[in-house]
């Protein structure tokens, strides 16, 4: 009865629970890298380091701002690429596991069968 209950849960609620936890994990990773926020502020000065000099105006302020924006854009692009890669990797692995989810309960049976048949690796 106990094994039947486990299998029944695995194919119905269990699958849903796994997908929900995958969604939460992806949400947490997205929040950590905050890709949306990075895109929105892609060309903004890095840490407002030029803000103080903007009041003075003139070419010096313009170049200050420009450098600050370049540093900001470069930093954000780096995080977007690195974060994006990790998020995609996590999503692919998660989806793969979700796809093979129905096959997992069959693996122990398969293992027992292989043992009985005496198949070696």
């Amino acid at each position: 009865m106990f094994v039947v209950d486990l299998i029944q849960w695995w194919y119905f609620r269990g699958w849903g629970v796994y997908l929900a936890s995958l969604k939460t994990k992806l949400g947490d990773t997205l929040d950590f890298f905050s890709i949306g926020q990075l895109f929105r502020t892609l060309f903004m000065p890095y840490r407002q380091i030029s803000a103080g000099s903007t009041e003075l105006g003139g070419p010096s302020a313009f170049f200050d701002r420009l450098i600050s924006r370049l540093v900001g854009t470069f930093t954000r692009l780096f995080i977007i690429i690195f974060g994006g890669f990790l998020i995609i990797l996590e999503a692919i692995l998660g989806v793969c596991l979700a796809i093979i989810w129905p096959l997992i309960p069959l693996l122990p049976i398969l293992g027992i069968a292989l043992t009985v048949m005496g198949i070696r690796l």
């Binding site: 209950d5 929040d31 890095y46 997992i104």
Partner: protein, 800 residues
């Protein structure tokens, strides 16, 4: 709702899972399973390497155990509720796990103690397992009515599931006469339903602990500037709140204020908000909630406001770092410039008055702040006391006109209870105790009356916090709260309720007459009124008793007040005496209600310090009409507002006003042999016709007592009391005095004055008896342990 409830299905999947979860939800077992998984994998890999076909068995075991642990963690630890409203779908995990195959009512009563909510109800509301089992014994065996009531309670309390506390309340609700039982416990059914809601709330908090809050991640602050100086002189509230449990906003007014603040900060107008309200009304809670909401990545706030951070400026740190005015102004300008340039800062000036007036720990920075506030570019929040705000408004109208003012009113009882319930888990964690519901109720009741420097809900929470130090057996009860207020506020609030005090009240007349003679009617009237008050037959929103004593001087009016203080409040020092002949000017009202910091002997200051007292207002007829008008509210509602507009409670005082008005008329009544009780109405009508007292003033008193002049026979008894007093004074020297009848008669002959009552008696005893004793002691005629017998001739010699 249909009363027929589907029977409990012992073999349903949820029930089976709950029972299995009860067995498997065991840390040791789970550790064993995890270890087995690890061993299986290691052995499997080893067997693979040596080309053994047994490796498949090891991997099979590891996968199966992995599935099992996933099932335990995700499902069995807490079986989620089903999708329907059927009984089996809504019973909580711990109820399902403990229900037998064919449950009877007594089984339901027994399982409550195994559930977390049942334990909650036991600790906080005193609903013990024994009590439930006793109730269940008198109910039908069939549990269907209990389940039917439980379903109704679940819906009524908006609960997600039927847990142990709901089952417990349902059992009580099914008992005939449950109201009587609850009244014995000083509870009502609504309290228990409130307890269920409270448990649901705490349970929700516990569940939310593991959930991660989205707050913007690593890119959040990349586009905002550095703020090194601001960081040095301020506290980042957003950072502090980020790592804490979410601030709960229970009060509808606070929610409204929060939304108004968002409105101000998203509009194009001046970016400032001044939260004006008394301390303790929740101003800081609102700012904390705002800081959390701003950092919530999932909120619907516009991008112009999202991820902004609140920094609380530290006035003391600023002043100590830059003691010179010019230096300080420069520093503040620099900090505010930094905040503006960073583009994500909201400055919070807590107790903003510290920045707008010179004083100890405060400095007037209006010249720096005013242009910034008027420009409205930098976001600023100010929190301020209403009184302080009015003071600053009077001096700096331009400044206050530039602010977006939002009033923060104090919370009512229901709201305060909610806030206290919210704070209890933190206080329990801090003090390592548990709070009962009676502690919360008592904290509200007592703080409302005796804590004057804070407003609700802050003052109730502060008292609850203090009570954590007076827990007994790790339980904070109503007694702990009473002890806390007695120790922290220095007020005695525990009115003795033991048998000794009850007998005191029953024998009040006898006890009073131990120290005063005659005035039977007045003493009886007062005693009856106080017995009614002690028995609970009184309006809690008025003083214990308000009495007007009318009669000639020296007949025992003040003495009765003192006797009452000694008998009722267990000490003659529990008397607050005011001679109203010192309050004859209209301006004297301010002396009556002066702030304790300005005059610690004002009426309000003394009552604040000692609320359980007899307030004796001597010679009330001499007070200015404005003073009398001020006292009306005190007589009527038991409340007087002091100079700072704070309510001071007189609800635990006995107020006695004395007056000589109409003394001659009282003497005429006595001379003509008229009974004073029957002549009282006629006398009061006459008194009102003379305009001595206005009818509305006289009507404010519970009782008006007429004191008759003392007769020579009364004076003889008074001499006995005076001699008793002399003997008490001489007791340390082991000397006593006794007077024969002749001596007493002579003292009465010389000391009796119908106009002045007993007063001259004291003087004459002092002049004669005390002088005789003094001479006798000094001439060594009297040794320790001796009794000095005084006769008529000795008195005669002394008085000539």
């Amino acid at each position: 709702m249909n009363n027929t409830v589907e029977a409990f299905d012992y073999n349903s999947l949820r029930a089976r899972e709950a029972r299995l979860g009860k067995k498997l939800n065991n840390k040791v077992l789970q550790t064993v399973i995890l270890t087995l998984i690890l061993i299986s994998i290691i052995v499997g890999v080893f067997l693979t390497l040596i080309h053994s076909f047994w490796c498949w068995l090891c991997f099979s075991l590891a996968i199966f155990l992995g599935m099992l642990i996933f099932w335990i963690k995700c499902e069995l630890v807490s079986v989620p509720v089903g999708r329907t409203e059927r009984l089996n779908d809504v019973l909580s995990n711990d109820v399902l796990a403990n229900l037998p195959r064919n449950p009877k009512t007594k089984d339901l009563a027994s399982l409550v103690k195994h559930t977390s909510s049942g334990k909650f109800l036991n600790v906080r509301y005193g609903i013990s397992s024994n009590m439930l089992e006793n109730i269940a014994a008198s109910l039908p065996e069939n549990p269907a009515p209990i389940f039917a009531t439980a379903l109704k309670i679940k819906q009524g309390t908006d609960s997600e599931e039927i847990h142990g506390a709901i089952i417990a309340v349902s059992i009580i609700a099914n008992l005939e006469g449950s109201d009587y039982l609850l009244h014995q416990m000083k509870l009502e059914m609504v309290d228990l339903l409130d307890g269920i809601v409270w448990f649901n709330y705490l349970n929700g908090l516990v569940k939310s602990i593991g959930k991660k809050r989205h707050s913007g991640g690593i890119a959040r602050d990349l586009s905002f500037g550095y703020i090194p100086t601001l960081q040095r002189f301020s506290i980042n509230i957003s950072k502090v709140r980020e790592g804490s449990m979410k601030t709960q906003i229970h009060l509808p007014t606070h929610k409204e204020i929060l939304s108004k603040m968002f409105q101000v900060f998203t509009s194009g107008g001046r970016q400032n908000v001044a939260l004006i309200g008394p301390e303790g009304s929740g101003r800081s809670t609102i700012v904390n909630a705002l800081a959390e909401e701003l950092l919530d990545a999932d909120s619907k706030l516009p991008n112009s406001l999202k991820f902004r951070q609140v920094f609380k400026l530290d006035a003391a740190a600023l002043i100590s770092a830059a003691p010179e005015r010019g230096e300080l102004e420069g520093l503040v300008m620099h900090i505010l410039g930094e905040a503006y340039a960073a583009k994500n800062i909201i400055i919070w000036l807590e107790n903003a008055e510290l920045f707008f007036e010179d004083g100890v720990g405060s400095v007037d920075l209006s010249n720096v702040l005013l242009p910034i506030i008027e420009a409205g570019k930098l976001r600023i929040i100010m929190t301020m006391d209403r009184q302080k705000f009015l003071e600053i408004s009077a001096k700096k109208a331009t400044l206050t006109n530039s602010l977006n003012k939002i009033m923060v009113p104090p919370a009512n009882e229901q709201e305060t209870m909610k806030v206290m319930q919210d704070q209890v888990p933190f206080l329990e964690y801090q003090h390592k105790v548990s709070y009962t519901i009676w502690a919360l109720k008592e904290a509200y009741r007592l703080s409302e009356r005796y804590v004057h420097d804070l407003e609700m809900p802050g003052r109730a929470v502060a008292l609850l916090d203090a009570a954590g130090n007076y827990a007994e057996n790790m339980l904070v009860t109503a007694t702990s709260v009473r002890q806390a207020i007695e120790k922290t506020e220095g007020v005695k609030v525990s009115l003795a309720e033991n048998d000794h005090d009850k007998s005191k009240l029953l024998n009040l007349e006898t006890l009073i007459h131990e120290r005063m003679i005659d005035q039977e009617d007045a003493v009886k009237t007062i005693s009856d009124a106080l017995r009614r008050a002690a028995a609970g037959v009184r309006n809690e929103r008025r003083p214990i008793g308000t009495f007007l004593f009318l009669g000639p001087t020296g007949v025992g009016k003040t003495e009765l007040a003192k006797a009452l203080s000694e008998v009722y409040f267990s000490g003659e020092n529990h008397i607050i005496r005011l001679d109203l002949n010192e309050f004859v000017e209209a301006s004297d009202v301010s002396r009556l209600i002066a702030d304790p910091t300005e005059d610690e002997f004002s009426l309000t200051a003394q009552v604040m310090k000692q609320p359980f007292s007899v307030v004796l207002l001597d010679e009330i007829e001499k007070a200015h009409p404005k003073v009398l008008t001020t006292l009306l509210q005190m007589l009527d509602e038991g409340i007087l507002r002091d100079a700072r507009n704070k309510e001071v409670s007189f609800r635990d005082t006995i107020i006695i006003a004395t007056s000589n008005a109409g003394a001659n008329r009282i003497r005429e009544y006595v001379k003509s042999g008229t009974n004073l009780t029957s002549a009282k109405e006629d006398f009061l009508n006459w008194l009102m016709s003379t305009n001595e007292f206005k009818p509305e003033f006289l009507n404010r008193f519970d009782e008006i007592c007429l004191f008759k002049p003392l007769s020579p026979a009364d004076c003889l008894k008074i001499i006995d009391l005076i001699i008793e007093g002399v003997n008490k004074t001489l007791a340390p020297q082991k000397i006593s005095v006794a007077l024969d009848e002749g001596a007493k008669q002579l003292l009465v002959e010389r000391g009796y004055d119908p106009e002045l009552g007993a007063r001259p008696m004291k003087r004459i005893v002092q002049k004669s008896v005390e002088n005789i004793v003094a001479k006798s002691v000094l001439s060594n005629e009297t040794s320790s342990g001796a009794e000095i017998l005084i006769n008529r001739s000795m008195i005669e010699n002394e008085l000539t």
